[in-house]
């Protein structure tokens, strides 16, 4: 990896797509476009969700019963498919959040130098 951290948006890490969608829907029922926009804006363009992947994920989550979908009519009189969190989805969200937190803590332990270890990242060669 060369150079400083760029401002290019990061695409989703494997396994976090569903967590983020669940959390997004926990805020509010949205249609598909609304979800990607929400995530982009909340992370200030850092995280981007591949559109096709989003819809695939939504279908997966529908099949597992975490998400319910229904067609509705927007105020501009357009019909759109809206997604909402189900009770099962809420349970799943809690589970995934807890898993994520443990993961993050574990990673932090690796990255944080213990007493006596050299600090900082290895220099570029």
């Amino acid at each position: 990896m060369g150079g400083a951290m760029s401002d290019e948006p990061l695409y989703m890490l494997q396994g976090t797509v569903e967590l983020l969608i669940l959390r997004t829907l926990a805020w509010q029922t949205m249609h598909g476009y609304g979800i990607t926009r929400w995530i982009r804006e909340r992370t200030e363009e850092t995280l981007r969700l591949q559109d096709a992947a989003l819809y695939q994920a939504l279908r997966r989550m529908e099949r597992k019963g975490w998400v319910e979908a229904e067609w509705g009519v927007t105020d501009t009189n357009r019909s759109a498919r809206f997604y909402a969190l189900t009770g099962k989805g809420r349970v799943q969200l809690r589970r995934e959040v807890s898993t994520w937190r443990r993961y993050v803590e574990a990673v932090a332990k690796i990255l944080t130098p213990a007493a006596g270890e050299p600090a900082g990242l290895p220099a570029e060669r």
């Binding site: 249609h31 096709a52 509705g72 009519v73």
Partner: protein, 889 residues
């Protein structure tokens, strides 16, 4: 319901979408997404619309792949969703059905029991029909098997046995047959097999060498007979069952039959059954070359054959008829014989077919009546639950949903009935077989196997749906609002219900009428059959057969034995007369030889011969059976082996051979035997139906050297025939302790066997008819009772307004009679149609006999009147104020 975001109203989408619809929806969702992204790019980043659109598309990813993947996912989701939804609904319907049935256990039990009878009965009869009529015979390629008969051109409707020379000719010359074999079924041959010192009765079947080849049955051990052994060689092929009983040591060696030794050459699997005769224990080789076997007039063989692979029955027929012509030229004395060939399966079952189909029809009628009863019950109950259903409907269950629930309930009830019915069918089958053993062929294959159970399941499902159909349909059509508004029992809806129920009951009455007419016709037929005059005394006559082993008795010993035996038995207390005969009276044709008048008016002319039944008799045969002596005398001590040979004729034989002249003193040639006629006796019928036949009687002592005649004894008792058995047995043992009394029966039992088919049909149809009558009566009673309940208010008002209670009662009775009349009308038409089916089973009775029909119609009308009385009485007693106060909930 999904909470949509605020400001968004719900859009109804059809739950079940076709593939195109699914694809369109996916495209729409994606298009919406792209549109919004495009708008965002234009507004936020100031892009040109086209550029923005392009960018949005690129960002999305592979559009086509995404559309495809999402469409597939949606289709799959819909499929599995439908499956789970269906299962979920089914579970819910079942739970609902069980709950509501548990609340009304009596109703559920009555319905299940009614259906159990109908389904069980139908299943039992079907299992017999399937095994006997439908399934092919248990032999390899059974459709190639045929039966060959010979008949007399003068009597073409009687299939008879085949003569020796003709059999040989057919075997050599008919190419259509790949194998041909004869079997001796003329007289039932049993023999006493000595097993470990004890005599045991076994069934013996003498057969030609090709027998096992025709039936494609390989022996389990050893071999079968060869052509050279068709001289009555003392060999035997035994059944595995017998071999097991004999133990390994004996099976390979020899057995003792009637005192003679036979070498066992082969063993046949125990499951094998002869098609004509059934269970056989021992097969022996026929004698196809000795004495009588070469006589062209001596017909004695039953013949079965297997068609060649490319041959047909018609071709065989043609070949046989060509052979007929050739044989007539070669054996002019037997030129009246013709061959007849028929498929073996058809031959065996044709006689049982009408009876079995009658049963199937009858039990299906009973099932229909039962189903109508159940449908009626369900309809009534659905009316009572009208409120419950209406509330459910108002709370959101669609009419279709409720209808499905009712159907589920009905199918559950039917399933309960079906299970119980299959249990009943087990007993039913046992009863059918036990009772109809002699009337139904091929009973070994009857059982509750896979296809029969499948039939029962299908029948149960059909019955469940059929019975639940009417109430389900009604519920699906009614709007909940109207039901909630009015109280049950109001206006036109209930009038239509009443008409439907009336129609159902009328149909029950009609069906019951048909069954009752059928049963009555059969009953009349059985009664008339039992009153046929057979020409002999039937009551209190004991019969049994005595077989003298040739190794111990020669001709003169046999003559002496039988003469002595008849005299000794006659001296026993309780015995009035004793005789013996080669064949019991009215048990069918036996030894029909051509007899020629050698003197008298017809002698020397072409009309001199007649076919007559030959019988060998001893002792006081005619006396024991109350056969009148019309002229001349009976046999007595003057007719010994060295005395002039004599014969006694029956009345019709005398008439046929010597018309207009006294027969006594004339001479005849019965087959090869020249005799002088010494007496004429009354006619004896040929079969239990009373068909007449000419008989010629020979004295045993004078014909004992011709063959070892097994004689059937007839012992006329003063009181009870069966009580004599021990004394008779003791007396026989006094003369020869080795002898065994075979087939000890009373004469009426023997003759009853011949009528078994009709009696069987009668008893079963009567049982069905009785059942149908009970069900129809219940149906009628239920309908009238319900009517009274429903119209209680109306009745109360009428009475309050001054109508006489009697008028009200008359109204109820009138309703009952109207429905009954409609049913009787329909039923009469049905009974007339049924008449044609019955015609082959009835004896001297017209199936559409108007007297019987009128009688049954009258009887049912009276019953209907009686049934209507109780509800009518109740209607009369309704106190007006009670009626007015009732509001049904």
């Amino acid at each position: 319901m999904t909470p949509l975001p605020p400001g968004i109203r719900s859009l109804f989408r059809i739950p079940w979408r076709g593939r195109d619809r699914i694809r369109a929806d996916v495209a729409e969702e994606i298009a919406f997404h792209l549109e919004l992204r495009t708008k965002e790019l234009v507004q936020r980043q100031g892009m040109a619309p086209d550029e923005a659109r392009e960018r949005a598309r690129r960002e999305f990813g592979d559009l086509d792949a995404a559309k495809r993947a999402l469409s597939e996912a949606d289709e799959e989701a819909q499929r599995s969703g439908r499956r789970t939804a269906w299962l979920r609904d089914l579970r819910r319907d079942l739970a609902f059905a069980f709950r509501s049935l548990r609340r009304r256990p009596v109703f559920a039990i009555i319905v299940a029991a009614t259906l159990a009878l109908g389904i069980g009965g139908t299943t039992a009869v079907f299992s017999v029909v399937k095994a006997v009529l439908i399934e092919s015979l248990p032999y390899e390629q059974a459709d190639q098997l045929v039966r060959v008969y010979q008949y007399d051109v003068d009597r073409p409707e009687e299939d008879g046995f085949v003569a020796g020379p003709h059999f040989h000719a057919a075997r050599e010359n008919i190419d259509s047959f790949q194998d041909l074999a004869g079997l001796y079924t003329y007289a039932e041959r049993g023999a006493d097999l000595t097993v470990a010192g004890q005599p045991e009765r076994v069934r013996v079947l003498p057969v030609a060498s090709g027998y096992f080849r025709v039936l494609r049955q390989e022996p389990v051990r050893g071999r079968t007979f060869t052509r050279d052994e068709e001289r009555g060689e003392p060999l035997a092929v035994i059944s595995e069952r017998l071999a097991a009983r004999l133990g390994e040591a004996d099976a390979g060696r020899s057995i003792e039959l009637d005192g003679e030794r036979y070498s066992v050459v082969g063993v046949i699997p125990g499951s094998f059954e002869d098609p004509v005769v059934g269970r056989v224990d021992v097969w022996t080789p026929l004698d196809l070359y000795g004495g009588g076997a070469q006589e062209p007039e001596n017909t004695f063989l039953s013949v079965i054959a297997r068609l060649a692979p490319d041959a047909s029955v018609d071709r065989a027929r043609q070949e046989l008829s060509a052979l007929d012509r050739a044989l007539a030229k070669e054996y002019p004395e037997a030129d009246n014989l013709r061959f007849r060939v028929v498929e073996l399966q058809e031959d065996l079952v044709a006689s049982a077919r009408p009876t079995l189909l009658l049963f199937l029809g009858a039990i299906v009628l009973v099932l229909l009546i039962a189903a109508v009863n159940v449908a009626n019950l369900m309809l009534v109950r659905s009316l009572e639950r009208g409120r419950e259903m209406a509330v459910r409907a108002a709370l959101g269950a669609g009419g279709g949903r409720i209808a499905r629930q009712l159907l589920t309930e009905s199918v559950v009830l039917a399933a309960a009935g079906g299970l119980a019915g299959v249990g009943l069918a087990v007993f039913g089958i046992d009863a059918l077989l036990a009772f109809g053993q002699d009337a139904i062929p091929r009973t070994a294959q009857v059982g509750l196997d896979g296809p029969v159970l499948g039939f029962a399941a299908a029948l149960t499902l059909a019955t469940g749906i059929g019975c639940g159909f009417a109430p389900a349909l009604r519920v699906a059509r009614t709007s909940p609002a109207s039901t909630l508004r009015t109280s049950a029992g109001g206006s036109s809806d209930s009038r239509r219900q009443a008409r439907v129920r009336g129609a159902l009951v009328a149909s029950q009455v009609g069906l019951a009428l048909m069954l009752l007419v059928g049963a009555s016709v059969l009953a009349t037929s059985v009664y008339r059959l039992s009153r046929v005059d057979l020409g002999v005394r039937v009551d209190d006559v004991l019969t049994f057969e005595l077989n003298l082993p040739e190794s111990q008795y020669d001709a003169s010993a046999r003559a002496a034995f039988h003469r002595e035996m008849t005299e000794r038995l006659e001296r026993l207390p309780g015995v009035s007369a004793v005789g013996a005969t080669s064949r019991l009276p009215a048990t069918g044709t036996y030894h029909p030889w051509g007899t020629t008048a050698l003197s008298g008016p017809r002698a020397g002319t072409d009309d001199a011969s007649a076919s007559t039944q030959q019988r060998v008799v001893d002792g006081a045969y005619f006396d024991a059976l109350d056969v009148p002596l019309l002229d001349g005398r009976w046999f007595d001590t003057r007719d010994g082996p060295n005395d002039p040979p004599v014969a006694v004729l029956s009345e019709s034989a005398a008439e046929a051979l010597f018309p207009g002249a006294p027969a006594v003193g004339q001479r005849i040639a019965a087959g090869p035997f020249e005799r002088e006629v010494i007496g004429v006796v009354g006619d004896i019928a040929l079969d239990p139906e009373g068909r007449p036949a000419a008989h010629v009687y020979h004295a045993h002592a004078q014909i004992a050297d011709n063959r070892n005649w097994p004689l059937q004894y007839v012992v006329a008792a003063r009181t009870d025939a069966r009580a004599l058995i021990p004394t008779v047995r003791a007396e026989i043992a006094n003369v020869d302790p080795q002898l065994v009394m075979h087939e000890t029966e009373t004469l009426d039992e023997v003759l009853g066997r011949g009528r078994i088919e009709r009696r069987f049909a009668f008893v079963l149809t009567s049982a069905f008819a009785g059942l149908a009558l009970i069900l129809a009566v219940l149906g009628l009673y239920g309908m009238l009772t319900y009517t009274v309940r429903q119209r209680t208010r109306e009745i109360g008002i009428r009475i309050a307004l001054g109508a006489e209670p009697r008028r009200v009662a008359a109204m109820i009775v009138g309703q009952g009679l109207r429905v009954t009349a409609a049913g009787l009308g329909l039923g009469t038409l049905g009974a007339l149609a049924l008449g044609r089916v019955l015609s082959s089973l009835v004896f001297r009775t017209q199936p559409a006999d108007p007297l019987i029909l009128a009688g049954v119609v009258g009887g049912l009308t009276l019953i209907a009147l009686g049934v209507a009385l109780l509800p009518a009485y109740r209607a009369m007693r309704v106190p007006p104020r009670l009626a007015l106060a009732v509001d049904r909930t």
